[in-house]
């Protein structure tokens, strides 16, 4: 879906425009709690109208970064600018940001309507204007008929929509979402993902979403910042992150991947040749990586970019022999666990375009795992 949007509107890739002025600037932000460094010298530029995902495991600092944007935590050092304004001395209640909390944080003693109106009331907006704004936003999230219910009279999905409405109603410059879909079941998650994307398209508000769910980040966002132990290790579109991870961590964290350790034999502008004992075959990649011959590298190949065949079609490279150790039939595809002759186990997924019988690859069969020269990614760290 994210890829589709990029295709439809190629001009929206504003981050590739060198003249574009970032809407949110995070400059060398560090946050320490005592001796623990939660966020370590993070810098990022986020542009107006983006849906930026901060993706990482628990304790990677993504929530701390979000809380610093909202003003609940102060950076130990570094600066945050929103629309050109330094946020250092601005308390949460004066920031042009609103947050949707992981727990939703709906006020239990107020109705849905009162919850949503709360933010507008703080701005001393006239009552009739509040009423029309609240009604409009409740219509948008389809919660109008529940306006007079209290939060405990709502289901999880309904609460989530109220929380979203409450954070959107003030039309903030920046909307922060902390694990917005964390508490929902799978079907509801998918529906809500698209709902959030729709709303974001319609209102043009800049979103920053914190999530540990790579699928959620891939589907929702224009760009992803992958975080690990307090640092942003890679920023890119979902496609860039998936196809060209820059470290083993990113390759492994996003999707599943087979990693082979090896040494560079040849590194030319047009190709790289890598000797890998783990793969049991020389690996040829059709793009250079510019590093010294003999350097240690890791080669990452996605399971769906590998192929299985019973006959040796290789030309002495990018083709490794092995034995089928397991097959997981998943309906639309099957995952094969192959033990290569080198002893390394790899995962290969094949889509089930034809009926299973015709595949005729079975347990303990001798097979050859091969891949195209543009599929592997060589990683230096």
């Amino acid at each position: 879906m994210a890829a589709e949007r990029a295709k439809a509107e190629p001009s929206t890739q504003i981050w590739n425009d060198p003249n574009a002025v970032p809407y949110i600037r995070i400059e060398n932000v560090t946050k320490k709690f005592g001796d623990f460094v939660a966020v370590n010298n993070v810098s990022a530029n986020i542009y107006r109208g983006e849906l930026f995902a901060l993706l990482g495991g628990s304790g990677c600092g993504k929530t701390t970064l979000l809380r610093m944007l909202a003003g609940f935590e102060q950076p130990t050092s570094g600066k945050i600018y929103i629309d050109g304004v330094d946020m250092a001395d601005i308390p949460p209640y004066e920031r042009p940001t609103n947050m949707m909390f992981q727990s939703y944080a709906l006020f239990p003693h107020m109705t849905v309507e009162q919850n949503v109106a709360f933010g507008l009331k703080q701005d001393r907006m006239p009552v009739d204007q509040i009423k029309s704004r609240v009604d409009a936003i409740l219509d948008m999230v389809q919660m109008r008929q529940f306006a007079h219910r209290k939060p405990h009279q709502l289901s999880g999905g309904q609460r989530q929509r109220v929380a979203l409405a409450r954070s959107l109603v003030k039309e903030p410059k920046l909307l922060l979402l902390d694990e917005p879909l964390g508490a929902l079941d799978k079907k509801l998650r998918e529906a809500t993902q698209f709902e959030i994307m729709n709303i974001q398209d319609r209102l043009g508000i800049t979103f920053i979403v914190v999530t540990h769910d790579q699928e959620e980040a891939m589907t929702l966002s224009t760009r992803i910042g992958v975080m690990n132990s307090g640092q942003i290790v890679q920023v890119g579109t979902p496609k860039e992150i998936y196809e060209y991870p820059n470290t083993k961590f990113v390759a492994d964290f996003i999707g599943s991947v087979n990693l082979f350790e090896g040494h560079i034999i040849e590194d030319e502008p047009g190709h790289v040749l890598i000797d890998s004992a783990e793969a049991g075959t020389p690996i040829y990649i059709d793009h250079g990586i510019s590093s010294a011959p003999g350097a240690k590298v890791w080669v990452a190949i996605r399971p769906e970019k590998m192929e299985l065949s019973k006959a040796n079609e290789g030309i002495g490279r990018n083709c490794a022999p092995g034995i089928v150790k397991g097959i997981a039939y998943m309906g639309n595809m099957s995952v094969y666990l192959i033990k290569l002759d080198s002893g390394k186990e790899v995962k290969v997924t094949m889509s089930n375009q034809r009926r299973a019988a015709e595949h005729a690859i079975d347990w303990d069969d001798k097979v050859y795992v091969s891949w195209h020269a543009n599929s592997p990614v060589a990683l230096l760290s």
């Binding site: 209640y93 944080a105 006020f107 239990p108 999880g156």
Partner: protein, 280 residues
């Protein structure tokens, strides 16, 4: 595991209840004793109740008790809520350990000591500042606030420590200033704890004797003081009637608050079930 209650459990239950409520039952029974001698049963009669209600001293003492309890419970609730909030929220500040220890010290301090020290303090203050000139409402209320506040602090600290901080953050995030957030979000949500803290303080103040004896003066004698002095002069059946009335008042309060709480909890559970059903 059988579903039937074993005789042992039943016996324990009966013994337990007898131990707790036996004395009270005896007291209530004897309040309807026709005989002037407390220890001799002379037949059923409610005659001590009208006598009691015509006794000006009893009525004044009861009024004094309620004034002292209501005023000190109110102040103790305000102070205790503040102290509980600080202790639950601010994990680190200078003197936190000392503050936490001192605010709850009256819970474990022997009342005789607390009462004596307060008496000495008030006397010294009276000499140096000319206030309080003598013991009375002001001193007994101040004394009651000090120990009632400890109980409220404990109640409120435990309430605030389980309070979902993100509710306050959400209010700040939506543009409410900290004080406003406390008044319109925090306080309404913890209101039941505030009420139960107040009730606790009220009952504790109402039945305090020892500290009251030290810090009270003439003209503001409380009910426990009156009962205490009456008993010393010889037990009078009206005391039983008075005690029965106090028990009735307390029991009514406890039962009402319990009914209110279970009702709202039941309603909440029903709403949750209904919400889950509509979501299916």
């Amino acid at each position: 595991m059988t579903n039937r209650l074993s005789w042992f459990i039943i016996a324990m239950l009966v013994l337990g209840f007898a131990f707790l409520y036996g004395p009270i039952l005896v007291l209530i029974t004897y309040s309807f004793n026709a005989n002037k001698l407390m220890t001799l049963w002379g037949g059923f009669s409610p005659r001590w109740y009208p006598v009691l209600l015509q006794d000006a001293a009893v009525l004044t003492a009861a009024k004094n008790s309620f004034i002292v309890a209501a005023v000190s419970a109110t102040f103790a609730t305000v102070l205790g809520t503040m102290a509980g909030y600080v202790l639950a929220r601010y994990r680190k500040f200078h003197g936190r350990v000392a503050f936490s220890g001192m605010v709850t010290a009256p819970l474990v301090m022997p009342e005789v000591i607390t009462g004596l020290s307060l008496l000495l303090l008030f006397k010294a203050m009276g000499q140096f500042f000319g206030w309080p000139e003598r013991m009375g409402f002001s001193t007994v209320i101040l004394a009651h606030i000090t120990f009632c506040m400890s109980y409220v602090t404990v109640v409120m600290q435990s309430r605030f420590s389980v309070f979902d901080m993100s509710l306050e953050e959400a209010a700040l995030d939506l543009g409410a200033k900290p004080l406003k957030t406390f008044m319109v979000i925090t306080l309404p949500i913890v209101a039941p704890a505030v009420v139960s803290g107040w009730l606790l303080a009220f009952t504790i103040s109402l039945d305090d004797l020892v500290i009251t004896l030290y810090t009270n003066g003439p003209g503001s004698g409380t009910l426990p003081q009156l009962i205490f002095s009456k008993v010393r002069r010889g037990v009078d059946p009206t005391i039983n009637a008075l005690a029965t009335l106090i028990i009735a008042v307390v029991a009514t309060g406890v039962i009402t608050s319990h009914i209110l709480m279970t009702r709202s909890e039941k309603r909440r559970q029903r709403d949750i079930q209904a919400a889950l059903q509509t979501n299916k």
